[in-house]
């Protein structure tokens, strides 16, 4: 196990290095400059500002400097937010995104599991069709449509919850959480239903029934646990996506999250922020995938992490 983890960590570092390199050069290929008023300045004026930020150096030199600093966990300062430290900026902005992501993930997964189980246990009844319908809506309607609808009907018309902004504590997080949770809810409901139906038809369930186990016991102890494996596979990357923020939902509810900052950084060629957010997202995604692999072994002991004797 220790050997496996060590190997994985080495691969993770290699992956991050490659992502950093690719992103750095791709980013430099983007047209435009992070100097906001570059279209207005004369060549000499622009050159002076670029020299101040070290943008006048040859690309490989800039790359070298950047990588050296990155290894020391120094992501530099933002160009849009003059002088703001990128690491601090990401930490400040990641908070709300993280909170929304975790809440949405919990709500979505638990809601989805309940819906999926109801559907599977009451197959081909009104319950089943109802939960399938919800799942189809959840998958096919994008989160920003839900966000807009919730904002209008519950925020503006109903007036129960804040229309937007991040000022009323957890109340502000309710609507965006629901909007974000619809996707994972639908996905997990579909997976749980399909898997449970399959597992419920297997021999060992029949055996469990024959042994006189109660319906609930069968559902939770035998069927549900087996149905979890494919769910973990899809939930991993989904979780990474959620906690790193959703651009559109954050914009709709005017939430100071990290998602919308990423796109803004690209549009304004804010090099240090592009790199900072990309690396942040990458680390999260890679970590989540790693955790998922470890979880497999816990959920299903048949899956062994070390390859054995090939």
């Amino acid at each position: 196990m220790a050997k496996y983890i060590l190997k994985r960590v080495l691969y993770m570092i290699l992956t991050l290095f490659l992502i950093a390199t690719f992103t750095f050069f791709l980013m430099k290929m983007l047209p435009g400059s992070p100097i906001a008023s570059s279209p207005k300045l004369t060549h000499e004026q622009l050159a002076a500002v670029e020299a101040k930020y070290g943008l006048d150096k040859p690309l490989p030199v800039q790359y070298g400097i950047y990588m050296k600093k990155m290894v020391q966990l120094d992501f530099g300062v933002s160009y849009q937010f003059k002088g703001a430290n990128v690491t601090e900026l990401i930490i400040n902005r990641a908070g709300p995104s993280f909170l929304l992501g975790i809440q949405a993930l919990i709500l979505g997964t638990i809601g989805g599991i309940i819906l999926g189980m109801i559907a599977a246990l009451r197959q081909n009844t009104v319950w089943d069709y109802g939960s399938t319908l919800i799942a189809i809506f959840g998958i096919s309607i994008p989160s920003f449509v839900f966000a807009s609808l919730l904002q209008y009907w519950i925020g503006v018309k109903g007036g129960f919850l804040p229309v937007g902004l991040w000022e009323n504590g957890w109340q502000s997080s309710i609507l965006p959480t629901i909007a974000l949770a619809m996707g994972p809810l639908a996905t997990s409901a579909r997976f749980i239903r399909t898997e449970m139906i399959e597992v419920l038809g297997t021999d060992y369930i029949t055996l469990a029934k024959a042994k006189g186990a109660s319906g609930l016991e069968i559902a939770f102890k035998h069927a549900f646990r087996n149905a979890l494996i494919p769910l973990i596979t899809v939930m991993g990357p989904l979780a990474a996506g959620l906690v790193t923020g959703s651009l559109v939902v954050e914009q709709i509810f005017a939430i100071p999250g990290i998602g919308e900052q990423f796109v803004k950084a690209i549009n304004s060629s804010d090099y240090s922020l592009i790199m900072g957010t990309t690396m942040f997202f990458s680390v999260l995604l890679i970590l989540v995938i790693f955790i998922v692999d470890i979880l497999y072994g816990i959920v299903d002991p048949r899956i062994r992490l070390t390859g054995g004797n090939k």
Binding site: P39, A48, R93, Q251
Partner: protein, 565 residues
């Protein structure tokens, strides 16, 4: 371990695809402006609670006045700080930190300002040194200011030389003669100097404070110092929310009525409107399709902006080979061949209006207060017959009956709609013309523009100071903004004369600039004007005296009050 490879490969692809997908979303520059102004009269009862709730469409990038280049930053600075001059309710520069009109020498090159008895928010006095320090800091290459050199080069003495390393920062033509006297030496007479120094680049900074804060200076509301009508509170440097509260140390605080202004950054127009409708906010900008949707709402306020939009007609592709647009008749034909009224009323429908000129209406005025626009009036108006006859003449001179032109524009929804309309009009009205649309994100357009890699391009310009020269200097043959190989000796001479030999003779200067505009637009048809931007916003009727400026900072809250909420 096949799986591990797959894992890293797929995660790499995922991350890169997120990155690339995000690249494709373009920018939303033209949806980002919130605007409009309320009633400017200062009458009516004043409510007990003086609290205003507004929104901005982007974050504050910095509060360091010498580094600010964007609309939100300059807007905030305009309300929490004050320079020698500030714009009044009529968009005219009036003495602010300057106690009175400056003394100017006969040549118009040395200005001596008396500084008013005013205080910083920490209680210390605002001195002439604060201006000398800030202006020198703005020009110092070590600061990396963009607007410092942009605004001062060729204006304040030695500014250009400092940028080239030929003079020291200490040689900049600004000097505190004593605590309350500031002497500014210019390179040459600059008729618009007082409106120029109302911009945020020319705000004062207290040396002691800036040095003490070091790198943290102006990066959040606690590390910034204020001398304006309000002080900033609750701004953490990158956040989406902040607050202005009345500055008790402000010299003119008796005229400031608002106690608090709550600001939130809301980037979605629909969300802005929802917050407005629910009563949470007092003003919301209307852009894009929302303008049309809310046009009949009684709360709509309309404002004129001083930004002209036009077609740039590139005469030399890549700056080398002549295009068909090097022919003046072809240019004239294009300039007259599209219906601007229909375009602004039916396609844009956002408060923008037809323009047959370069220098915007309601922007600059002569000494009697007459709009510069009245001198030349409309030029090269939409005229189908004339357009067709110029077109035939031009084609004959070129010896062809068919032309294909590349048309470069922005990629926002509204810009695309406009491009489509213009393509349709031009192709329909000028037989033999085919237009190839190319719609790209803003930064790409800037890049293609600087390479002159286009035939026709939709572009616009926002003024930097209140004088026709801010637009006229763009098209000088050696201007780096030209980027369409327009070169006219006559035009160059008129514009240069206005800045040099006529610099101290306002009437002749005005005439020279008007002639220059006529040469550029009417005779040479170097540009084909389209529209002057107008904006629409929703504003609650109880908000009074909110001043919207047509250049520089967008709003002044100094004179705003709440009445009848």
């Amino acid at each position: 371990m096949k799986k591990s490879k797959l894992v890293w490969l797929s995660s790499l692809i995922l991350v890169l695809s997120v990155f690339l997908a995000a690249c494709g979303t373009g920018n939303d520059k033209d949806t980002s402006k919130e605007s409009g102004s309320g009633s400017k009269e200062n009458s009516g009862s004043v409510d007990a609670t003086q609290e205003l709730n507004v929104m901005e469409s982007a974050e504050i990038p910095t509060m360091d006045s010498v580094l600010v280049t964007d609309t939100v930053g300059s807007n905030v600075l305009n309300n929490v700080n004050e320079g020698l001059y500030r714009l009044n309710q009529e968009n005219l520069p009036i003495p602010a930190m300057a106690a009175e009109e400056p003394k100017v020498n006969k040549e118009g090159t040395v200005y001596t300002f008396k500084i008013r008895d005013a205080k910083w928010s920490d209680g210390s006095a605002v001195t002439a040194n604060d201006f000398e320090y800030a202006w020198k800091r703005a020009i110092d290459p070590k600061t990396g200011s963009e607007y410092g050199p942009y605004m001062m080069d060729g204006v304040v003495k030695n500014a250009s030389e400092i940028g080239k390393g030929k003079a020291k920062v200490a040689d900049l033509g600004v000097k505190a003669l004593d605590e309350k006297t500031l002497e500014v030496t210019l390179e040459k007479p600059v008729p618009y100097f007082l409106s120029l120094i109302s911009l945020s680049t020319f705000l004062p900074q207290k040396e002691e404070f800036v040095v003490a804060q070091g790198k943290k200076y102006a990066s959040n509301s606690d590390t910034t110092l204020y001398n304006g009508p309000f002080v900033l509170e609750g701004w953490d440097g990158t956040g989406l929310t902040w607050k202005y509260t009345k500055n008790d140390n402000y010299w003119d605080k008796d005229n400031v009525k608002l106690d608090t202004i709550n600001v939130d950054v809301v980037k979605e127009v629909q969300t802005q409107l929802n917050l407005y409708t629910s009563g949470k906010k007092d003003r919301a900008g209307l852009s894009g399709e929302f303008a049309m949707q809310y046009a009949d709402n009684p709360d709509v306020v309309k404002d004129v902006e001083s930004s002209p939009f036009y077609l740039k007609l590139n005469q030399k592709r890549d700056g080398k080979t002549d295009t068909a647009l090097a022919n003046v008749n072809i240019r004239k034909a294009i300039a007259m061949a599209f219906n601007k009224e229909d375009l602004t009323k039916a396609v844009l429908a956002n408060g923008s209006f037809e323009a047959n000129y370069l220098i915007p209406a309601e922007f600059t005025f002569d000494e009697e207060g007459k709009d510069f626009r009245e001198v030349n009036g409309d030029m090269n108006k939409y005229n189908l017959e004339e357009a067709k006859s110029y077109w035939e003449k031009g084609l004959k001179e070129l010896g062809t009956d068919k032309l294909e032109l590349d048309f470069l524009g922005d990629d926002s929804d509204l810009a695309k709609k406009m491009d489509e309309y213009l393509k349709n009009q031009l192709e329909k009205n000028l037989p033999g013309l085919s237009i190839k649309l190319k719609e790209v994100p803003f930064l790409v357009r800037v890049d293609l523009n600087s390479k002159q890699d286009y035939d026709i391009q939709v572009a616009g310009w926002a003024p930097d100071f209140q004088d026709p020269y801010t637009f006229l200097n763009l098209w000088l043959s050696d201007s780096q903004q030209n980027n369409m190989s327009y070169a006219s000796e006559k035009y160059d001479k008129l514009v240069t004369d206005a800045q040099t030999i006529y610099a101290t003779e306002p009437a002749k200067r005005w005439k020279a600039m008007a002639d220059a505009e006529k040469t550029l637009i009417e005779e040479d048809a170097a540009l084909a004007p389209i529209y002057q931007r107008g904006t629409m916003a929703l504003q609650k009727p109880y908000v009074k005296g909110l001043v919207k400026h047509n250049f520089g900072a967008q709003y002044s809250y100094k004179w705003t009050y709440i009445s009848g909420k």
